[in-house]
């Protein structure tokens, strides 16, 4: 057991993860409850969440989690039974409790101090709720179930506090045979037995050492011991079963209710462990049966000819009502179904997936290289099989990339809560609508867009949506709407944050920007350009600074975050009606469709979505850096000069016309190789500040090509030009 600390921490990790999922589920249900009445299923699920957290928390000895969750569970139990009704205040309280449980668990994970004071405050509130409720601690409430006889239905695991009169006189008998691997799985059998004290008093424990091998042959990591426990408890069978939930798959756990028939004892125990007489003695030792009863039962059993199935015996003997068996069977089926659902997805560590994708990327590169070499051989048969191979490899690449794709709903799911809390805080009524939560994008993107999106949503709620009075005056519905909308468009994903608020005030933004020296008062700007000013660092039009926004930090951070993801942020606004922030992001950071060109002896990749057309450089162009194309001047950059390339030049250079946003520019190159799929290889910190190059890739022949960052390249060139002009100005003047 001494070595179990590592395993235990793993199990604790699993517990954390499970608890987080359960808490998310609780949150979702609570939010649903606020919108509409939630059904019985939801209430049961809610209860189960708290119950499971409490149960598994107990296993790990997280007393504070257990203590707090227990009270929450009581309230949820009351809700489930209908003796309490949801109202807004209760939901708020429960959401706070849910947050608090989550904080407690975080505190466990970080080994920081438990916020006990907060627990106490919330417990007082919860007890307040329990105290007011009809059918509270006072017995005989309207819905309190009548104390059940010896057997309780398994589907109704909880009993009222006032049910303690039942079977206090007798005790449960638990026959525990933990799986051999229980210690290796990070579970301590003793912890389970100790946890039984939560439900009652352990009257006697008999340790079964039959399986224990010689000292030399014993593996200290294997659990050889069995336990027979007699437990005085008023808990239901399901509750006691729940204690062993984590080990029930690999262990033999037999729970016999008080006042069970002896024959039943023996039958069940025999079914499990075989040797009746040995077990019988143990039962006598535990005080579960008397020696005389045992004798009789054994004799009786010998007379019985056909061994019947346990369930049948139980029903026949009237020990268990048929409903219990049915419920148990149902439960088994349910558990099986659940397991099936679980088996449909496989959890894989992200780095293993990344390693796979990396390798597949190299496979594609190698495949393309081989294909190109075979293409030069003039052997059609070989070329055909190389074609096939390459297309298969590309399929595999696509599939491997799809492994990393997750639904964007994962990000969206945290917004209902945010919108709810923020709208309460702002005193506005705001409804959140989510569309396209199933749209998929790369896992790494999902992790990175959460914060920018959060900022945009908060901004929309704070600045976008007007107060209820203003909305009424403008003839809009009082309840404002924020929409989150995701959809795929030509190889990228668009995410819109749209509000039906007042829209952006062009004049005010313009005025503020002039005041803050961002633009000159004479500047002539399109609506788009004015709206984009709100993305400038330090810009804020909010007259008052709220908790949420208005400090003028944020939108520029959002913009730089999005640009770091190679995305763009567009702003559309209809004054008085709506504002839409549209993020356009690539689906993945690992691969882009590129356009492969050559300058001198170097290779460059231009992101394909920026390429508009390729034309020949007019021969009479001379030294100027623009030419007329369809009536418009098109500035161009000679990559050869900018990059100081000295390799062989082409007599007739070409121009690649690129576009980003609303700007167009030409890039003069020597050679055009065409479209290619490009696996991005980061260049590392040494090149972090190189303008114009965003990464590198390995092209078909094994050479390294540079991926051009077009906006940065053009910015760089115009900066250089501007600094020349600045130098030239005094001379001209």
């Amino acid at each position: 057991m001494a070595d179990s600390s590592i395993d235990l921490s793993q199990a604790l990790g699993a517990f954390m993860e499970e608890a987080r999922e359960l808490l998310d589920q609780m949150e979702a249900i609570l939010l649903r409850a606020e919108e509409a009445a939630c059904d019985e299923e939801d209430l049961n699920a809610l209860f189960r969440c708290a119950h499971t957290i409490k149960g598994s928390g107990g296993l790990f000895g997280l007393d504070e989690v257990v203590r707090f969750t227990h009270v929450v569970e009581n309230v949820l139990d009351r809700l489930r039974k209908g003796s309490l009704q949801f109202d807004s205040a209760l939901i708020t309280l429960l959401l706070e409790c849910q947050d608090h449980i989550s904080n407690l668990i975080v505190a466990v994970a970080e080994h920081s101090e438990m916020p006990v004071a907060r627990s106490d405050a919330l417990i007082v509130e919860l007890q307040g709720v329990l105290g007011q409720a009809p059918g509270g601690p006072a017995p005989g409430g309207p819905v309190a179930t009548t104390p059940a006889p010896a057997q309780e239905t398994a589907a109704e695991p909880e009993r009222d506090e006032d049910g303690s009169a039942v079977m206090a006189a007798d005790h449960w008998h638990l026959s525990l045979r933990f799986g051999e691997g229980v210690l290796q799985d990070g579970m301590d059998p003793l912890a389970f037995i100790n946890y039984l004290n939560q439900y009652g008093k352990i009257a006697h424990i008999e340790t079964i050492t039959d399986q224990l091998p010689d000292f030399d042959g014993a593996d200290p990591e294997i659990c050889y011991l069995g336990f027979e426990v007699s437990l005085i408890s008023s808990a239901s069978k399901a509750e006691i079963e729940g204690v062993f939930e984590f080990v029930q798959d690999n262990s033999q756990i037999l729970i016999l209710p008080p006042q069970s028939r002896i024959a039943e004892f023996l039958n069940q125990i025999e079914a499990l462990h075989g040797d009746v007489s040995r077990i019988g003695e143990i039962l006598v030792a535990c005080g579960s049966v008397t020696a005389k009863e045992l004798e009789q039962a054994l004799a009786e059993q010998r007379r019985a000819e056909t061994p019947a199935r346990i369930g049948e015996i139980l029903v026949e003997q009237g020990a268990v009502p048929p409903t219990v068996v049915e419920a148990a069977v149902k439960k088994q089926i349910h558990a099986e179904e659940r397991r099936n659902v679980e088996s449909k997805s496989v959890k894989v560590p992200a780095e293993r997936l990344d390693a796979l994708i990396d390798r597949v990327g190299e496979l594609v590169i190698a495949g393309v290289g081989t294909h190109a070499q075979i293409g030069r051989l003039d052997k059609p048969d070989l070329l055909e099989s190389a074609d096939l191979l390459l297309s298969l490899v590309e399929d595999i690449r696509d599939m491997a990339l799809r492994l990393r794709m997750v639904a964007i709903g994962e990000v969206f799911s945290r917004f209902p809560r945010v919108v709810r809390d923020v709208s309460k805080e702002l005193g506005k009524q705001i409804e959140l609508r989510i569309h396209g939560a199933e749209a998929e994008l790369d896992k790494s993107m999902v992790e990175k867009i959460g914060d920018p999106l959060m900022h945009l949503v908060r901004n929309s709620m704070d600045h976008g949506i007007e107060s209820a009075e203003v909305r009424r005056a403008r003839g809009k519905p009082e309840v404002g709407t924020v929409e989150l909308n995701a959809y795929h468009e030509s190889g990228s994903i668009n995410i819109e944050v749209k509000d039906d608020g007042g829209g952006l005030d062009r004049e005010r933004i313009f005025k503020k920007a002039v005041e803050q020296g961002l633009i000159s008062p004479e500047a002539i700007l399109s609506d788009q350009d004015v709206y984009r000013l709100i993305l400038a660092p330090g810009f804020s039009t909010a007259e008052k600074i709220t908790n949420l926004s208005g400090r003028g930090v944020g939108m520029d951070v959002v913009r730089s975050n999005i640009e770091a993801l190679r995305g763009t942020l567009d702003i559309e606004s209809v004054p008085g009606q709506s504002t839409t922030m549209r993020l356009c992001l690539p689906l993945t950071l690992a691969i882009i469709d590129g356009f492969h060109v050559g300058v001198g002896s170097s290779h460059f990749i231009i992101p394909l979505d920026m390429v508009v057309e390729c034309i020949e450089l007019p021969p009479d162009i001379g030294d100027s850096a623009y030419f007329e194309q369809r009536g418009e001047p098109l500035p161009f950059i000679r990559l050869r000069d900018v990059f100081g390339e000295e390799g062989p030049a082409h007599p007739r250079p070409r121009i690649i016309v690129v576009r980003f946003g609303s700007r167009r520019a030409g890039l003069v190159v020597d050679r055009i190789y065409g479209k290619c799929q490009t696996v991005i290889k980061p260049l590392g910190p040494l090149f972090a500040e190189v303008p114009a190059v965003s990464g590198s890739t390995i092209i078909g022949n094994g050479d390294v090509g540079m991926i051009l960052d077009i906006p940065a390249l053009i910015r760089h060139c115009s900066d250089i030009e501007r600094s020349y002009l600045r130098l030239a100005r005094p001379v001209a003047a």
Binding site: S602, H603, G684, P685, F687, V693, G702, V704, M706
Partner: protein
């Protein structure tokens, strides 16, 4: 030229990031292994634990707007590795390409992560053991190498060899900063 890289890469099997020498070091703390190499006529040495492999020279792909000390990048079995010309880094003439020119792949720490750099050298001499007792501090001038880059001067067979402080001589912060200045000047 490109297939050369692949072949060279395939032949020299990649040394795991933690070469066996690290264990041996506990045994004899006084003597350490160094890789000695030539830059024009001078011999330098680098702690062998920093060296990942040595590959045949192949023309690096130049990266635009980088200072001349960064010759470019090469494809090392699928990873893109920058190649540094140590001679230019030390303020000398660029390293010419000869028969014995090769690229020494070293590991450098930067902001908690290990990065891989290639050093272009005129030839690799040997792996040698140097006793710590034979290492002297660098003189304040006369080596024609920035003293900050020098860990010590080792006396081997009556001659001095400059042991480089890889962390300083190949400081990624510093090299990236040089580039920023150069880009402004250009």
């Amino acid at each position: 030229m490109t297939t050369d890289v692949a072949v060279a890469g395939a032949v020299s099997s990649p040394v795991p990031s933690n070469p066996g020498g690290k264990l041996a070091i506990e045994g004899f703390a006084a003597e350490q292994l160094y890789l000695a190499f030539r830059l024009s006529d001078e011999v330098f040495a680098i702690d062998i634990l920093r060296i990942r492999e040595i590959i045949e020279y192949s023309v690096p792909t130049s990266v635009p707007m980088m200072p001349p000390s960064v010759r470019g990048v090469i494809n090392l079995r699928g990873s893109v590795v920058p190649v540094i010309d140590l001679a230019i880094r030390f303020g000398r003439e660029a390293t010419g390409v000869g028969k014995r020119t090769c690229i020494v792949i070293v590991e450098v720490q930067h902001e908690g992560a290990t990065h891989v750099l290639g050093l272009m050298v005129d030839g690799v001499n040997a792996v040698m053991e140097i006793d710590a007792a034979n290492v002297e501090p660098a003189p304040s001038f006369g080596t024609r190498v920035n003293t900050e880059f020098i860990e010590g001067m080792a006396r081997v067979n009556g001659k001095f060899i400059i042991i480089l402080d890889v962390g300083r001589a190949l400081s990624i912060e510093e090299m990236a900063a040089i580039k920023a200045v150069d880009a402004q000047n250009s």
